[in-house]
């Protein structure tokens, strides 16, 4: 391969100042937030990092890549969890952040934005114009629209507004061979095959998304959150099931706090949680020593919202040896409807022994869940250089949830070096976010653990991912989940879109 020639031609497309070849400029483009690579640094590197700023440039870069047979990988906010944006075969990484223009159309009720636009900016622009962009994810301060579409992102509001696929009106895409195709930003069309919808969830293997037009909805009059604490996970889950049988909340979250048993509790740790809705759950744990409990209680009394109620509750239940869960329900809309819906939720929660309490700052804090987890890690004084945090996203049918939950606990008990922090039912009854602490440099243990976990999920008719996608992590497991024929169909689609296997090779439709 003629490296000087490639660089010369790239220069002709984007200009000398937009090509980066220094080692220090290329290292950060190896992976996003991929634990596997943090544990064992990868040995691949992109050859060129290119800053592109127009669809035409993207098209020319892809044509050049086909000519020289060199891989191209698009890069958005770099918030990926699975290695989907890693240039594992080197080549050109195209940074898309310059595609960041936003246009709000109030008459058509849509936002048109470049693929590199940061999601938070779209949310803010929509709000300024009296609209809601109903897609919020934890990483929204840095995740981009193109990346969200390429992974069919799932967010905090997706319980009622669905995932990002259902918000797309039209997109513009450059195919791996350089052709630019577009769909019109209309509510619905019916014109046969819809190749563009295949791009949703394609993880940068079928085309580079350059622009998208997204549906907006009128901003809700008000927004309200309530929290319910349950004696056991089962109570919380049954209540949540009943609630979903009656209505669909805009926000839903049910956390089972599993890490309690690993924690060497300290007063400091608990004090960190004084203002958090979760405090009561920690106190409720059977693992807390009475002496510490006594100290904390006085402080709680003066500082927690509706403290007295919780105080009484805790005093009565502290000796019960049960697990527990916290449910968060959020509603958006007009005040009257919210009142009615809240009443229904309260009634159901009460029937299952749920205790209501409120935390008015929740909305401001909701994207800081990492902070919560890291506080736990710090409080346990775990040697961070020897532990690594991994969030898994699996989904199983409602009827198998209890099975799945118990299997996870059994599995973690057998793998002593792996710690379970919490299981979070995120936006829906069937989507389980699992936070684990893994030991560093023990890939044998990781492999054994994940093999068993994956088998359990598949035995329970579940799927290995509901949000974070395939990337390199789940690539070896797709066939187990979907079967040989399905796999072959994926490969045929990839071949049809990308005959020379230029775009993000070694991933979906190509590897392993």
């Amino acid at each position: 391969m003629n490296k000087t020639k490639i660089k010369d031609e790239l220069e002709g497309i984007v200009g000398d100042e937009n090509i980066f070849t220094e080692l220090a400029e290329r290292i950060p483009y190896r992976f996003g937030n991929v634990v596997e690579y943090r544990l064992e640094p990868p040995d691949f590197l992109p050859d060129y990092v290119v800053k592109a700023s127009s669809t035409k440039q993207i098209s020319e870069i892809l044509r050049l890549a086909n000519k020289f047979n060199i891989p191209v990988v698009p890069w958005g906010g770099g918030t990926d969890f699975t290695g989907a944006n890693s240039p594992i075969k080197g080549g050109i990484v195209v940074d898309m952040k310059e595609f960041n223009e936003i246009e709000i159309n109030t008459e058509e009720q849509y936002v048109r934005a470049g693929a590199g636009t940061v999601l938070l900016r779209i949310t803010e622009e929509a709000e300024k114009n009296g609209f809601l962009f109903p897609h919020e994810i934890t990483t929204q301060p840095s995740a981009t629209l193109g990346g969200a579409i390429a992974t069919n992102s799932f967010g905090h509001r997706s319980s009622s507004y669905r995932n990002i696929r259902s918000l797309i009106l039209g997109i513009e895409v450059v195919l791996p061979t350089g052709e630019i195709i577009k769909s019109k930003p209309l509510f619905k069309t019916s014109m046969g095959y819809d190749p563009i919808s295949l791009l949703v969830g394609s993880e940068g293997t079928l085309g580079i998304i350059t622009e998208a037009t997204m549906r907006l909805i009128p901003a809700p009059e008000t927004r309200e959150f309530s929290f319910y604490l349950f004696d056991s996970f089962e109570d919380g889950f049954t209540a949540a099931k009943d609630i979903h049988g009656n209505l669909t909340p805009e926000f839903f979250d049910l956390v089972e706090l599993s890490f309690l048993k690993y924690s060497d509790y300290t007063v400091d740790f608990l004090m960190n949680y004084i203002d958090s809705a979760l405090i009561s759950s920690y106190l409720h744990s059977r693992y807390i020593k009475d002496s510490i409990y006594g100290n904390i209680l006085d402080k709680l009394l003066s500082e927690l919202p509706s403290t007295k109620k919780i105080h009484r509750y805790l005093k009565n239940t502290i000796h019960k040896k049960s697990c527990l869960s916290v449910m968060t329900i959020g509603f958006e809309g007009d005040k009257e409807t919210i009142r009615t819906r809240t009443r229904i939720v309260e009634k159901i929660a009460r029937e299952h022994g749920g205790l209501k309490f409120s935390d008015e700052t929740y909305y401001e804090k909701r994207f800081r869940s990492f902070e919560k987890i890291m506080d736990i890690v710090y409080s346990q004084k775990l040697p961070l250089s020897k532990q690594c945090l991994l969030t898994l996203d699996i989904t199983v049918p409602v009827s198998k949830i209890n099975n799945m939950k118990n299997s996870i606990h059994n599995l973690v008990q057998r793998y002593e070096e792996i710690q379970l922090l919490d299981i979070d039912f995120y936006s829906s009854l069937t989507t389980l976010g699992i936070d684990l602490l893994l030991p560093v440099n023990k890939s044998k243990i990781h492999k054994g653990f994940f093999k068993e976990l994956n088998n359990t999920v598949l035995q329970l008719d579940g799927s290995l991912s509901f949000a974070h996608g395939v990337g390199i992590r789940l690539l070896p497991h797709i066939e187990e989940e979907v079967g040989k024929e399905y796999m072959s169909a994926i490969q045929k689609i990839k071949k049809a879109f990308d005959p020379n296997n230029i775009l993000n090779p070694g991933k979906l439709g190509d590897g392993p």
Binding site: E22, L23, E25, P28, P41, V49, K51, W75, S142, E371
Partner: protein, 321 residues
């Protein structure tokens, strides 16, 4: 670009510390940073990337120094003249710094900082006029606080040794500064009883009888704001000027933009540094004058644009009756 993100800086440092990458290959890219600490404010973990970069700079310089003791400044990426001047003359401009023999019975030491002393003498005189009006007695030291050397990787011990005005006799003596950088350095690196002039003057506003109907936009300095959490004091001082019409930059206090002059960015990447200055100036309310409490921010912003930028002391001086 990704390599400008705080996450990437940590990743690069991690690669170097693990021995997979030669530190010299990443040190320049790593210093595409003004050390303004805005990223620390938005980090959910509160990781202080600016401090980590500074420490890494020290490590790299130390190893370069050990490798070649005589020629390390000349051969490497350091601005040689600048550093030599600092060490020999006490300021980067090569002029002899003035250190008066400590007088007895003074109220405080006035430490305007090298930028004000040699590039903006008017402001030093204005401050002196204000002090004189208040019948205060003080000594003036015109040297550098050596903060720039810290950015180039010199250690705290080294800069303490270079530091010309040895305040050892007066550890409890109040030191008044005009500059956010000096304020932070005297406090953190030289353990002085330092007070920024905005806080200092708050006790004397009654005697100054301030009045001015100008329209101004106030912008926080990183070293005074995010580094030392002095958000309230400058605003309070401005509020003592009767009839002053003050507005704020949209992103203020913890979120305030940097002037672009921090760290070593302006030496390695002057265009980026200038661009940051312009972005700040673009945020100013129309038909107002930008006011800062830091003499370095003022210098950097006026150097990089045709805008008129005032130090809070310029404004106080104009507002005295």
């Amino acid at each position: 670009m990704e390599f400008d993100s705080p996450r990437a800086k940590l990743e690069l440092i991690n690669e170097a510390l693990s021995g997979r990458v030669d530190p010299r290959d990443i040190i320049i890219t790593l210093n595409r940073c003004t050390t303004c600490k805005r990223c620390v404010e938005s980090c959910p973990f509160g990781i202080d990337v600016a401090d980590i970069i500074q420490e890494f700079n020290q490590l790299v310089r130390k190893s370069e120094f050990e490798r070649d003791k005589r020629n390390f400044i000349i051969k490497t990426r350091y601005p040689q003249r600048y550093i030599e001047n600092l060490i020999a003359k006490g300021n980067p401009f090569g002029i002899d710094s003035k250190y008066e023999t400590p007088s007895k019975n003074i109220d405080f030491i006035f430490f305007p900082g090298c930028i004000a002393s040699y590039k903006d003498e008017k402001i030093v005189n204005k401050a002196r006029t204000i002090f004189d009006k208040l019948d205060l007695s003080y000594d003036t030291y015109t040297g550098c606080c050596y903060l720039p050397l810290k950015s180039f990787g010199f250690s705290r011990n080294e800069i303490q040794e270079f530091f010309r005005p040895k305040f050892d006799y007066s550890n409890k003596m109040k030191v008044v500064t005009l500059c956010g950088g000096c304020y932070n350095s005297l406090k953190e690196d030289h353990n002085q009883n330092v007070i920024h002039i905005t806080s200092f003057l708050l006790d004397y506003t009654n005697k100054l009888n301030l009045k001015n109907d100008k329209k101004v936009t106030y912008v926080d300095s990183c070293k005074l704001g995010r580094y030392n959490k002095e958000y309230k004091e400058p605003r309070e001082l401005l509020s003592k000027i009767r009839e002053l019409q003050m507005s704020e930059i949209e992103n203020n206090r913890e979120d305030a933009p940097c002037c672009g002059g921090g760290g070593t960015l302006q030496y390695y990447f002057p265009e980026i540094s200038t661009e940051i200055s312009h972005r700040l100036l673009d945020q100013k309310a129309p038909d107002t004058t930008l006011v800062t409490a830091c003499s370095y921010c003022k210098y950097h912003l006026t150097q990089n644009s045709n805008e008129k930028v005032k130090h809070i002391i310029d404004l106080i001086f104009e507002s005295m009756s």
